[in-house]
Amino acid sequence: MLNAKKFFCLAFSLCLYSPNAWAQNTELRVVTWKAEVPKVWDEAVADFERQNSGVKIFREIGPQSSTQIHDLLTQKLKNRDPRLDVFFMDTIWPAEFASAGWALPLDRYFTAAERAKFLPAPISANQYRGQIFGVPLFIDAGVLYYRKDFLEKHGLAPPRLWPELVEQAKTILAREQGSQLVGFSGQFKQYEGLICNMMEYILSGGGALWDEKRMVSALHEPAALEAVRFVRDRMIGEISHRGVLAYEEPESLALFTQGRAIFHRNWPYAWSIANDPASSKIAGKVGMAPLPSFAGARGVAALGGWQLGVSRFSMKPDLAWRFVAFMTSEEIQKRIGLATGRAPTRKALYEDAELTSKMPQLKLLLDTFKQAVPRPTTPVYVPLSNIMQRYFSSVLALPNTDIKKRAALAARDIDRLLDLLRERQMP
């Protein structure tokens, strides 16, 4: 009897100290969206599970649009859902999630030395009040695509200035009569992408969306007004068609890949789609260049991209961090890049022979990424964006609106919003 008791105690304690017993059935929940190329994600997850036995990754698939995933995430986080561990963040959310107390500060895991291995712009987009809240997984920045064949045929070099682009498009359109061509295809629907497109014009003309030092709106400044006027009257009015006012990325890209547009503004992912003969009629005829600017200023690309964050209410932050570190590691980022054409965020990968040979556009993109400009980093970015979307959309879609008046109204609403931030007494 004594032996049996001893045996059971021993067996029991052995179970307690066996690492597998603790790790058994540990589930890590990740919120993501339906991937374009699911294989690479499935493989990465399977690898992680293999390397961490007993851990299962459960992926919750959210809606495809960034806005909808945002609303879904905020709903869970607002209710302190403990069954959410890791999530994707669009580049404009870290400040909001940090301020609301939803994202876990990752400073103790994500050291300065580690951070230095990543491109600087996305890192700063993940920082709020001196702490870091996410790890960038891939980076996006606006680029200009153009039809190499048309430009060569008419002896034109890729434009460095926006007015030059308009003139080139008009020339080509005049000479290619009856081809149902459109000069420019961009994203001007009333959604977040509109801000990216518009800021590329405004900032490359010396203007700004808001004055960060004085915390007031800058939309009513002359430079900003001029840029908006240019887009309405020249980009859309002269060389594009009104349909672009309803376009997000898919529709605008489709116009280009079907050979109907001369110039196209989009994110880097479009390169591989446009050059894939299975989905594009213009494979091989596509050129890529940095976005143009207005005279006297530099071209500006809007910074985009997605990062991984950890929920502050997660019960397994260490494990969650291990997953985040794994997914943003050099190996996985390289795999993602090769499979999906997404640009990695680790500097070293831009020197990687295999990656750069398969994605030659990376060299060109590196400069763009280094100079990409993020949208305002503020916890109230979403309401701010909605006000700006409303302003831009109403000015672009209704040709006779008074731009100055609308800008003043938007500026008033933005200032009221920013006042809320000033109420804060804490440092």
């Binding site: 945002h70 301020s99 629907k189 349909g243 116009l255 909605n386 209704l398 109204l409």
Partner: protein
């Protein structure tokens, strides 16, 4: 009597529990929150009680007023059209003919289609490159193709067309029920008196379907004031906010911007509008009921 009384209360209990927990309580929460300033992303503000300030801000908010106007236009245009088409369909279905059952089933199809499906479908139909509407109006002439969902003058019309298509069957069904309740001898009597078809319609049909008409009006108005799915899928409130109905604006404020207090105030405002309309209709229904009784 007492035991049946108790039985009755017992019968009411399950529904009462569900309704209280999942409907009444959330509604009161919403009401309560509308009196606070609560912004999710600025938690240091906390839950500040601000009395009627949200409602005052709503009144001063030009976007809210515009969206109220948009909503009223939406309701004011779609409801009469639904009732008109519904009445037409009901009159046809009221007759006995071969294949009537089949037509009845066909008529129910738009209503049976899930809203998200129907919204996507109409979005595709209004597409500016390969949409059916463009093809019907302009044939193969692609250069003249329109983009209704991108045009601030056309977007709301497109949304209203989609709504009328989807909900006309519901109105038709209710009106059909009303029509079938009219006894045939009334028509025969009118024929004997020498009435024409139009006179029969005006003096027999219309007055007697008034209750059904008002019922359809009531339910449709309540639903119409809350339209959301259609806008969410087709236009997301744009272009230039021309399809930004009140409910969608409330959604953006609550879920996208985290302004829970203000968003709740918008929801309460929509509710009060529905309530007002309903009370007005019920008043009408009471008087028409009395009129009907005296016939």
């Amino acid at each position: 009597m007492k035991s049946s009384h108790r039985a009755a209360l017992l019968f009411l209990l399950p529904s009462f529990i569900f309704v209280t927990v999942f409907s009444l309580f959330p509604i009161f929460e919403s009401f309560r929150l509308s009196f606070y300033r609560l912004i999710l992303t600025l938690p240091w503000i906390g839950q500040k009680p601000i009395g009627w300030q949200n409602y005052i801000d709503l009144w001063d908010d030009p976007v809210a007023m515009e969206s109220l106007f948009t909503t009223l236009i939406f309701v004011g245009v779609t409801i009469p059209l639904e009732l008109l088409f519904g009445l037409g369909i009901a009159l046809v279905l009221n007759d006995v003919f071969h294949g009537r059952g089949l037509l009845r089933a066909v008529v129910l199809i738009p209503w049976a289609i899930p809203t998200v499906v129907s919204s996507q479908m109409w979005r595709f139909i209004f597409n500016d490159r390969y949409g059916l509407i463009n093809f019907i109006f302009f044939g193969g002439d692609v250069s003249r193709y329109l983009a209704p969902l991108a045009d601030p003058h056309l977007a709301l019309i497109a949304i209203m067309a989609a709504e009328v298509w989807k909900t006309t069957p519901f109105a038709a069904l209710i009106l059909l029920a009303g029509l079938q309740g009219i006894p045939d001898d009334l028509y025969e009597a009118a024929s004997i008196d020498g009435a024409t078809a139009w006179q029969k319609f005006r003096h027999v049909t219309l007055p007697l379907i008034r209750p059904a008409l008002l019922l359809a009006l009531l339910f449709r108005t309540i639903d119409s004031l809350r339209v959301f799915d259609l806008v969410f899928v087709m236009t997301q409130g744009g272009p230039a906010d021309t399809t930004n109905v009140l409910q969608f604006y409330g959604y953006k404020k609550t879920f996208a911007e985290g302004m829970i207090g203000y968003g709740s105030a918008i929801a309460v405002a929509v509710f009060l509008m529905s309530l007002t309309f309903s009370l007005a209709y019920l008043r009408f229904m009471k008087t028409s009921h009395h009129e009907g009784m005296t016939r």
